[in-house]
């Protein structure tokens, strides 16, 4: 392994919006800052695909939007009202101190982005400012260049180097040359996004494999709410070339189209009361509620032969098509024009709920510190902000947490000196990373990856059961054992795709196992966590977060952080409690 002669105050892992904003925060605080990213610095991570890069949004309260001159449409809104909505949407599992940080600093983050040149394209909702994901990244990238942030691209982060329980560097692989590198630093910010790669059906880019979460776990950091995974209900699964695209969700949320079962029938009324069905079809609660109803319909055996449901878009009379193109002009060009040709030919897309956003992740406090000295985290790889369901924008989360994490990491670096590297640890990591090259007789990374996808589809769909989760944990443990013998047919170090797949599995397997275990421990249904064998929500016994320390599956239940708002104590059926929460949020007397 090559130990770089360069050393840094702060190393940021990931170059989506969370990573870039962390780097800006650290560099503004005068830290020498390096960003290590899987792909290209402003074209990797989840931010690029936010809103299918045609309708991303950044969230902010209406009062602040009016003050900033962005929109006068929601002037009477307050930060307190927004906070209350976020806690209701999270079913009271949110860390309320983190949610306070979110609503209090969202306006500052939006204002600086506008100041740095990001273009606003009007409003998408009362609190949603319309932007392009690519513009968020380009804007942050310009700011990073002004601040002389350094970048190391096409490089896969694998491990944290530790000295006496404190972070002292990182290990990564140059994917082009295959060279393993070690770099010294005083603080690390993890901003690696979600662990989408665990699921065959997901809405993320191919680089989201949970490397940050897994490295944090190996270092002994705490993980929180890992059972909470939001699915996007209507993600393309067929035709294959559009798999993972969320365009049907954007169309549906704008008001167009219908979801049909294999018989061409609508079905959401089978699973949702009339009131909740209305919310599923017409409100921002649609991600959670539709994912539940769609998954239930597929599990009932009324899915299509490709394993999904139809998203049908009737473009007759022609005026409907004209309205659609007026509402969403980007549909006329590029890949979206290709997809529209499918509807114009009277065909439909096959869609199904796909893993979309991970509410759970590395546990942080309001300084974005993890439980490991020198280790900070920001964005989707963290957990706790949104509790049991995220409705408000993840773009805002990444900016809010990035700004804090970067600043905290720089402050930590100022007060600490560069620690010596433990060469034995470095050599042990190198040996582990290179082991697949000398293994013989094991399965290929592609085989193990397919098996993981089959396991996650069984154990961790929207609707889970204790039985399937228990089987899933055992199956992942079996895969972990087989990964030790994973065998490559490609022996070159230069851009070895098989080797990279095996390193991805090294991260995805422990993260998957922790998710399944967490989902097993939470023996109730709450928010996006639906237990088919336990369709009840209990505020009597379940107002806690599930926290795991490191790779240990010894769970600890930490009382939910209810600093400002407390829920009614009681027990309800899953859908009754949704109705109750929605009624509280909208201020209705009774649903």
């Amino acid at each position: 392994m090559n130990l770089s002669v360069q050393s840094y105050d702060v190393i940021v892992i990931g170059a989506g919006g969370g990573g870039l904003r962390s780097a800006i925060g650290a560099a503004q605080a005068k830290a020498r800052t390096l960003v290590i990213c899987r792909g290209k610095s402003n074209r990797s991570g989840a931010t690029l695909l936010a809103g299918a890069n045609i309708s991303a949004d950044i969230a902010c309260d209406g009062e602040t939007l009016a003050r900033l001159g962005v929109s006068q449409g929601n002037k009477k809104d307050t930060k307190d009202a927004w906070f209350s909505d976020i806690i209701h949407e999270g079913f009271y599992l949110n860390n309320q101190d983190l949610a306070t940080m979110y609503v209090e600093t969202a306006g500052d983050r939006l204002a600086e982005m506008i100041d740095w040149g990001m273009e606003v394209h009007g409003m998408e909702g009362a609190r949603e400012v319309s932007v392009f994901g690519s513009d968020i990244l380009d804007t942050m990238m310009r700011r990073c260049r002004e601040l002389n942030v350094e970048f190391m691209e096409d490089t896969m982060f694998t491990d944290l180097l530790m000295k006496d329980g404190q972070v002292c560097g990182v290990v990564c692989v140059d994917l082009y040359s295959g060279e393993i590198k070690a770099l010294r630093c005083k603080a690390v910010v993890l901003a690696t996004g979600g662990a989408h790669g665990i699921f065959s059906e997901n809405s993320g880019s191919s680089d989201l494999c949970g490397e940050g979460q897994a490295a944090a776990m190996r270092a002994g950091a705490e993980m929180i709410d890992m059972e909470m995974v939001s699915f996007c209900p209507t993600v393309v699964t067929w035709p294959t070339m559009y798999k993972g695209n969320i365009l049907p969700y954007i169309l549906f949320s704008t008001g167009y189209g219908r979801v049909l079962n294999k018989y061409g029938k609508t079905f959401t009324d089978r699973y949702l009361s009339r009131h909740v069905e209305r919310l599923a079809l017409d409100s921002e609660w649609n991600k959670m509620l539709l994912s539940y109803a769609l998954n239930a319909e597929i599990q009932e055996g009324r899915g299509t032969r490709q394993g999904g449901l139809y998203y049908a878009l009737d473009l007759h009379p022609q005026e409907i098509m004209e309205e659609l193109y007026a509402d969403l002009p980007p549909l006329k060009t590029g890949i979206y024009a290709d997809i529209m040709k499918i509807f114009e030919a009277d065909r439909s897309l096959v869609i199904k709920p796909a893993a979309h956003y991970f509410e759970g992740g590395v546990r942080i406090d309001t300084a974005c510190r993890t439980s490991i000295p020198g280790l900070f985290a920001a964005g989707e790889c963290t957990g706790g902000m949104f509790g049991a369901n995220r409705v408000s924008a993840a773009t805002t989360e990444m900016m809010v947490e990035g700004a804090v994490a970067g600043n905290s990491a720089a402050a930590f670096a100022r007060d600490t000196s560069l620690l010596p590297i433990d060469t034995a640890q470095m050599e042990a990591i190198e040996a582990e990373l290179l082991k697949p090259f000398t293994n013989r007789g094991g399965q290929s990374p592609e085989q193990l990856r397919s098996r993981l996808h089959a396991i996650s589809a069984e154990a961790m769909p929207v609707i889970r059961t204790a039985e399937k989760l228990t089987e899933g944990i055992a199956a992942v443990e079996e895969l972990q054992h087989e990964l030790e013998h994973v065998t490559l047919s490609d022996t070159a170090r230069t851009y070895n795709r098989e080797w990279r797949r095996s390193l991805e599995l090294r991260s995805m397997l422990p993260v998957a196992k922790t998710m399944f275990k967490s989902a097993l421990v939470r023996d109730e249904s709450r928010g996006v966590h639906v237990r088919g064998d336990m369709l009840r929500t209990s505020n009597v016994k379940n107002l806690y977060n599930i926290v795991f320390r490191g790779e240990s599956l010894e769970d600890a239940k930490a009382p939910a952080v209810l600093t400002r708002m407390k829920p009614e104590i009681g027990e309800w059926s899953y859908t009754e409690y949704i109705e109750k929460i929605v009624a509280e949020e909208t201020g209705e007397e009774d649903a």
Partner: protein, 102 residues
Amino acid sequence: MTCHVKISRGEPGREGTWSEYTLTVAEHEDTSIMNVLERIAAEQDPTLAFFDHAACRQAACGKCAVRCNGKVVLACKEKAQEEMLLEPARPARLVRDLLCRA
């Protein structure tokens, strides 16, 4: 439909070899060049190198360019054809097979 694919292989200084593959793509199924490359790598030849380590697969990142039958296209956006000759999009920046430094 049956796809016949001929792909340029090798690293700088050792280019000029070719691999040929045949695979069947289901009727009516829109399949991209990226899908074809992924299937070849999964089912026939795991040593094939093409850009996929941080790919959006939705024509947003713009990093998966290849030269298909002489024309530079995004592998994720372009539909597969029955006969394809695939070469690196930027040979001067070749890393391996179809992968070039972006």
